[in-house]
Amino acid sequence: MDGKNIKLRLGKSYGFQWLIYILAFACLLPLLAILFYIVRAGITKINWHFLVNIPKPVGESGGGIANALVGSIIIILSASVIAVPIGIMAGVYLSENRRSKLAYWVRLCTDILQGVPSIVVGIVAYFWLVRPWDLGPIHHKGGFSALSGSAALAMMMLPIIIRSTEETLKLLPDSLKEAALALGMPFHRVIFKVIVPVGISGILSGVMLSIARITGETAPLLFTAFGNPYLSVNIGKPMQSLPLLIFNYATSPYTDWLNLAWGASLVLLLWVLFLNIFTKVITRKWKVQL
């Protein structure tokens, strides 16, 4: 009786172990299916012509995604220019004032900001940066600009940069800062010459992570950068970006546009994967905890 019982219990144990193995690895199936399908559908579309030309109008085959590539790079770079300095400064503030009342609220707001749905960020950026330049009654395609898209994306980058900066700097020994202060270094030089350089690996990883996060964001750009079928480098005007192009062309009924969207998806996927793997490699190399 007892022997049977222990066999049953062990059998149950192994059974559940295998069930968990199967369920855990079953998640890889959709991922592999997506990667496989995108690569298969996109690889035939990508060539030099695809990367340096702008989309052709409906009915003409060919064309490329140069406008979206250039637009994505410009929008992401300007988002980084806005978010990185502010994010690092706020992160330094949080790590320097760990127990103050204000720091508690700043930390809480950073958490809140991280959870805000991207579409809401888009709405708010529209009212702050697009609407004031729009002269029509509600919206008349005026006011949309790449810069407002960058600001929306910067809002999504900030929490990631702040948290990683804070977490990195929190781990540094206090003796480092105390030694620098004891030598008579002013506070801002202690930060710039000691604290930030020592923690730069963690800070940079956070920045890379945040860029990887926003590269594929579409929703905040819908009402801000808006999209543009032509090549544009003016950040005060509407601009195309890769995710916007994919969204617009993927839902269109034309085969040529669908093909463009598949190629663009592969480019975007490779770009995001590269950023993620790059971040992973540098975090491992620098032994950063994120």
Partner: protein, 320 residues
């Protein structure tokens, strides 16, 4: 803070050069102190900016939706008809659509994410295979949502359509069910990675005590690991729910976009996020626009509350 009058300007040697030198030195220190104060204030302003941003988001949404709040009142949330042409606005179809897709996605994803958490936290914390699984799961979170949507539209929707015709419902393909499947895949990483770190925090003496009493591996997991981590796992599930509620692009592409109340989980519908994405730039009447923004406000408040509860639970769990 040191003021100018407190600084020791007394000099023993009172020759004009020495006085000038001492004054220059004093000026230099003042400048340094001033820079330091300005720098500290700049840091504080950067921090304050976060509070300003969050308050700004909240106030902007509330202010811009004032028209619909005053014109439609609270019954906006449970009115069943959304017809902008007739100037009738009711948010219920979208609330229902959001709740259905999110909870269905959550139910589908929980077994998988908990399994990953147990696998990585308990069965195999180290080794190349778990490492591979961990990186692959992080990759699931990295794939842009617009790509999930495109793949769903091209691959998943036809599969769902043939599944629907085989079980005898109207074969549409796009709809609540398809979006839930896509969402379920997208939110797995959030609960899984949090669950993993929670499970690896279980003190080993608890597990060893259970093993010492003769428990099998599964019994240890069921009666020690899971009860010990249940609040942490719950927090992970809450955070994935927050993600699912706010997810926009993938859902917009596969949900079918109708403003009718979904009759079944296979029917097309709309979520709050997808209706904003679709109709925001088309809204040609002030009340229409402000009704859409009110949806955004509701979405914002709900996700904020869910995220804060999740974060509170995690903080309490990790501090114990």
């Amino acid at each position: 803070m040191i003021t100018r009058s407190e600084l020791p300007l007394r000099v023993i040697n009172s020759s004009p050069e020495a006085v000038a030198k001492a004054k220059a030195r004093a000026r230099r220190s003042f400048r340094q102190i001033r820079t330091e104060n300005v720098f500290k204030r700049t840091l504080m302003i950067a921090g304050l900016l976060m509070i300003v941003l969050v308050l700004g988001i909240c106030l902007t949404l509330a202010w811009q939706s004032r028209l619909s709040i005053s014109a439609l009142g609270p019954k906006y949330l449970w009115s069943k008809v959304w017809d902008p042409v007739q100037d009738i606005y009711g948010a219920w179809p979208f609330l229902l659509g959001t709740l259905l897709t999110s909870f269905l996605a959550l139910i589908i994803s929980i077994p998988f994410s908990i399994s990953i958490a147990i696998f990585l936290g308990e069965y195999h914390p180290k080794g190349w295979l778990p490492n591979f699984l961990k990186n692959a799961v992080e990759l699931i979170a990295a794939v842009p949502s617009v790509i999930y949507g495109f793949w769903g539209l091209a691959v998943l929707v036809p599969i769902v359509r043939s599944f629907e015709s085989s079980i005898g419902v109207q074969p549409v393909g796009v709809g609540i069910f398809s979006s839930s499947l896509i969402l379920a895949v997208m939110i797995i990483p959030y609960a899984a990675s949090l669950g993993r770190s929670m499970i690896s925090l279980v003190p080993s003496h608890l597990k060893e005590a259970a093993y010492g009493l003769g428990a099998t591996r599964w019994e240890v997991i069921r009666s020690v690991v899971l009860p010990y981590t249940k609040s942490g796992l719950f927090a992970g599930i809450l955070l994935s729910l927050g993600r699912a509620l706010g997810e926009t692009m993938a859902v917009t592409m596969v949900i079918g976009n109708t403003s009718l109340i979904p009759k079944s989980i296979f029917a097309p519908g709309n979520t709050m996020a997808s209706v904003i994405a679709n109709e925001f730039t088309e809204a040609d009447k002030p009340v229409y626009l402000s009704a859409l923004i009110e949806l955004g406000l509701v979405l914002f408040l709900v996700t904020v509350v869910i995220n804060l509860i999740g974060k509170k639970i995690i903080d309490r769990f990790t501090n114990d």
